[in-house]
């Protein structure tokens, strides 16, 4: 039981601490070449680990949709269609290469038009949502609507054509945004530093797959 706890908690915490200290030291201190090279090696290891996440994504898709087909859950036939297309893209990609003419044909004639259709529809839905929800029910929403209108008209070429003041007002609205955003950046950076210290000291255990202490 003690060994298990060591494997589960102490060793991962130690690895995190060493990786963190090495990376931070390389960034902020004038460290020896060997330490610098070790930090770069760590970054390359992180790249390799990230590559595994793609395989994990594939496994997740196959498991999820395979299970949906087996259980005949709602819309299971869409899962069949997804897996058929998945197989076509994967076979062509493996056989000819992901940037081959064959794969590019699939990409340009299936993926690109479907993708563009989906996001174009999203734009139209947003237009309708703006019409239904952008109602000045209080002062705050009213201010947001006014700023939105100036941004919309100032951003479009017709804004400057109608009145040169529209783009100028839109630019001025950025100042309002800048003040709030700076405060947000500073606060979130302080939070990130605090979080980083907690992780390095082993106080933050959520990254090990369990809740914080």
């Amino acid at each position: 039981m003690k060994m298990s706890e060591t494997l589960k908690t102490k060793i991962p915490k130690l690895i995190i601490f060493l990786c963190g200290v090495l990376t931070i030291a390389d960034l902020y201190l004038n460290v020896p070449v060997s330490v610098h090279n070790s930090a770069i090696t760590l970054q390359k290891i992180a790249m390799v680990i990230s590559a595994f996440s793609i395989g994990l994504g594939v496994a997740s898709i196959l498991t999820h949709h395979g299970g949906a087909i087996m259980r005949r859950t709602g819309g299971w036939y869409f899962s069949i269609w997804l897996l058929v297309l998945f197989a076509i893209f994967a076979i062509v990609g493996f056989a000819y290469g992901p940037t081959s003419d064959q794969y590019m044909w699939l990409f340009n004639n299936i993926f690109v038009p479907v993708n563009q259709t989906m996001y174009s529809l999203l734009g139209v839905f947003i237009v309708y949502a703006l019409y239904r929800t952008f109602q000045a029910k209080n002062i705050e929403v009213g201010v947001m609507i006014v700023v939105s209108l100036f941004t919309l008209i100032g951003r479009a070429p017709i804004g400057g054509y109608l009145w040169s003041g529209f783009p100028a007002i839109r630019e001025w609205c950025k100042i309002l945004n800048l003040g709030g955003y700076r405060a947000f950046i500073i606060v979130s950076a302080i939070g990130a530093v605090a979080m980083g210290i907690r992780v390095l000291l082993g106080r933050e255990t959520s990254i090990l797959g369990r809740g914080g202490e």
């Binding site: 680990i49 990230s50 479009a156 070429p157």
Partner: protein, 280 residues
């Protein structure tokens, strides 16, 4: 038609009518262009001027983070910037992607733009998709060869590509351009490329992200950007090379006016209802 019906139309119009109107308003200017004048702003002019001012032999690192979710908007800017780099004979380009779809969009865009006589391996190199997010950006900046395993996107050894003989880290580049699919990749580029190596950093962000970048330009961490279709169109105008972005500007103008009119109609209906006690 009764007053009640007019109010209903103002506030609760059938979405299908809105969709139909939206389609009409956006497609009509594409079929019958009006040609509204477009004023070139500081962002597009600054980016354009900087690339034009690069001396012969300058090396540009291009982080090609093309993503299907954002390509509809960013593709216009990415295409025009790549075209400008390709058209300039003195500029050398080394590109890499932090998104899995990057290589596909790279090939698609390169076929569309053309290489203008640039030779692969001598004038430009593509390192392909490199996973790892922030660690990848840090690794490429510190050791380009090591981060991509000594090979380009097509499996060729970097030793066989003359351009790569002079390139080992971010210090060897004169300009860093990033096509980020959100705000986080911009922050990563600032942390891992601009700040440690003090390299001029331009990007092609989403329109919605632009306002968040203003404070970073004031500190010099971002030198400039072109975001959204509007600024891509301005860039096309500067290059005297009209393309997809410029042809869509009339549609954008009428689309924005349409949205404004809809918001106003929605609010007029809301306040009329409120004054009559129908809406609380």
């Amino acid at each position: 038609m009764s007053r009640r019906n007019i109010l209903d139309i103002l506030t609760d119009a059938d979405p299908r009518w809105i969709y139909l109107l939206c389609l009409t308003v956006l497609s009509a200017p594409l079929i019958f262009p009006v040609g509204l004048p477009l004023v070139v702003g500081d962002n597009a002019r600054g980016f354009y001027t900087y690339i034009e001012s690069l001396p012969e032999g300058s090396k540009v690192a291009f982080s090609w983070g093309a993503d299907s979710m954002t390509w509809m908007e960013q593709g216009l800017g990415a295409t025009v910037i790549l075209k400008h780099l390709m058209m300039n004979p003195g500029i050398k380009i080394v590109a890499f992607s932090n998104m899995a779809q990057g290589p596909l969009y790279w090939k698609m865009t390169l076929e569309k733009v053309g290489t203008y006589g640039k030779e692969y391996g001598v004038d430009y190199v593509y390192l392909g998709y490199l996973p790892g997010k922030e660690a990848m950006f840090a690794a490429v900046a510190a050791d380009v060869w090591g981060a991509c395993g000594g090979k380009d996107a097509y499996g060729k050894s970097l030793e066989d590509l003359p351009l790569m003989s002079d390139i080992h880290s971010a210090n060897d580049f004169d300009l860093y351009i990033h096509l980020p699919n959100g705000i986080d990749p911009v922050m990563i580029s600032i942390r891992q490329w601009q700040m440690p190596y003090e390299i001029p950093f331009y990007c092609i962000p989403l329109g919605a992200v632009q306002s968040s970048l203003v404070s970073y330009r004031k500190t010099g961490q971002i030198s400039g950007w072109i975001g959204s279709a509007r600024e891509a169109a301005e860039y096309e105008l500067l290059m005297n090379s009209p393309g997809l972005a410029l042809s869509g500007m009339d549609a954008q103008s009428f689309g924005h006016i349409f949205i404004i009119v809809l918001i106003i109609i929605g609010n007029v209906g809301y306040f009329i209802k409120k004054s009559r006690g129908i809406e609380k």
